[in-house]
């Protein structure tokens, strides 16, 4: 620090604008890209989206000769291509929670809400930006993962599938949409809980604890309930084959979208009302 800081006249601002939604988006974008945690989480997420299919394809290709016909029949090229989505969703979800709860834990939220006291433009900007970023990164990543895994499998002349085959591109698109909605859902949870550990725990509870818990019910109950769970409905977005116990791809996607809208609505009401 300088020994002496002389007082200079505070320069006056000649131009005075007011808060608009697009300016709030610009501000949130600056916030988003100026944190290392953002770049790390996105980097890890995209790495996993690519690395898992490559690993799976390599191992499958190497072991194909020793596999039983039953095992071979179990291998699905699209499952391999989308193997990273299950892992990448965790990185996207954690970052989604963190983008909001990080503001609360550091106190940044107070600066944010002093600049945008109507509050909701901040929530819309964060959700919109994060959805776009997640989708724009994930869609190319799954497409690259598809071609990369196919190229590896091609060397063993096995499990070849074309992106133009029925349902293939739709599943890749569904995978990217799923990851995007997971990010949005996690962000809404972060806004509701306002605490990093709590937000991640709640997300993990909904996505990884509740679904297997359904197995304690009789099978017909389990199926009737599970198709309505956000995680199970969401997963149908990138399933190549229709699971008879679940709704079809787009209706299931609509169910998951409904949960996202509900979580966002709760987050918006609470953000508007609560003291910070």
């Amino acid at each position: 620090m300088n020994a002496v800081t002389p007082i200079v006249k505070i320069p006056h601002l000649t131009e005075r604008g007011h808060v608009t939604q697009s300016r709030v988006v610009a501000s949130e974008w600056t916030k988003f890209i100026t944190l290392r945690s953002t770049l790390w989480s996105l980097g890890v997420g995209m790495f996993l989206t690519l690395a898992f299919p490559i690993l799976f394809a390599t191992v499958t290709g190497a072991r194909w000769g020793q596999m039983s016909p039953h095992e071979r029949a179990d291998r699905n090229p699209l499952d391999i291509a989308l193997a990273g989505v299950n892992v990448a969703q965790l990185a996207i979800a954690v970052l989604g929670v963190l983008v909001i709860t990080g503001e609360y834990s550091t106190g940044m939220i107070r600066s944010t809400m002093l600049a945008v006291p109507k509050r909701l433009p901040v929530l819309w900007a964060k959700l919109g930006l994060y959805a776009v970023v997640s989708f724009v990164l994930t869609l190319p990543a799954v497409i690259i993962a598809f071609y990369a895994s196919q190229a590896i499998l091609d060397r063993h002349h096995i499990l070849q599938i074309s992106i133009s085959s029925s349902g293939v591109f739709r599943s890749l698109l569904g995978g990217a949409l799923y990851v995007t909605l997971v990010g949005v859902f996690a962000m809404a949870i972060g806004a509701i809980v306002r605490n990093t550990a709590g937000g991640i725990a709640l997300f993990a509870g909904i996505f990884f604890v509740i679904p297997p818990l359904m197995n304690i019910f009789p099978t017909n109950w389990n199926n009737a309930i599970s198709r309505w769970l956000p995680s199970e409905a969401g997963r149908q977005l990138f399933a190549l084959t229709r699971d008879p116990n679940r709704y079809a791809q787009w209706p299931s996607g609509a169910i998951f979208l409904g949960y996202c809208v509900l979580a966002i609505a709760i987050a918006a009401v609470l953000m508007r009302r609560r003291d910070v």
């Binding site: 800081t5 007082i7 601002l13 100026t34």
Partner: protein, 302 residues
Amino acid sequence: MIEASNLTKDYGEKRAVDDVSFAVRPGIVTGFLGPNGSGKSTTMRLILGLDAPTQGDVTINGKHYRDHAAPLHEVGALLEARSIHTGRSASNHLLALAKTHGISRRRVDDLIDLVGLHEVGRKRAGKFSLGMGQRLGIAAALLGDPATIMLDEPVNGLDPEGVHWMRNLLRQLASEGRTVFVSSHLMSEMALTADHLIVIGRGRLIADTSIDDFVRKASGDRVRVRTPEATRLRELVLGQGVSVISSEPDVIEVEGVTSQRIGELAAEHRIVLHELTPLQASLEEAFMELTREDVEFKSVAA
């Protein structure tokens, strides 16, 4: 101009601010004084719309903070609680805030220089000392060139040079015609910077007064008298509501009678006076006197 009317805030069972009304006028430094936990920060948060009042209302330049289209141009605030993401650099922090109002990057650089953070502007704010954090908070408050500045305990954590800098800054801001509202639990700090005082204790308004009146009112009328005939004078002035204490044989301190009356009494009875001094309480004493009943956590003699 900040106008609060019947402002009340409950946190659960606890009433943090209790029916407080006041106005903060432009062009002067208004000190907001009270012991720790007296509701100063809560009042400021209510003004800024961070917390919603349980009852009552508060406006800035005639509108609720939330309803201003360009809040950073209206009010610049430094809160007591940290309000900076620790992972972001000082200049990126300011830039993000600036963008909400379309304020240029140039303005951000100007302010970084103004508050003396030029050399650390690219460092993560988490590594800042308390004093550097305060300076960054000041830069954020001045970003929109606001007409009203609100600062909660701004000298906390500043070194002597920083304290001096802050005092000059407050004076400068007021001299530019801005509304300056600054809180402190230190009376001595207020004495050096404020023209007007709003004093609260345990959430209630105790005083809304100029500094001079505040001291006059709190000091009562204590007078020091030095005379060779101290005992005789003591007998003469004693009466209802008058107390006399004596620290030295020739000196008495009288409370409850004006110095004028004592002089007249002495002349009447041909008593020689060597000294007749009206005593002013120091601001610190005046503050202690006023808030004695309202300190939330008193130190109790063991």
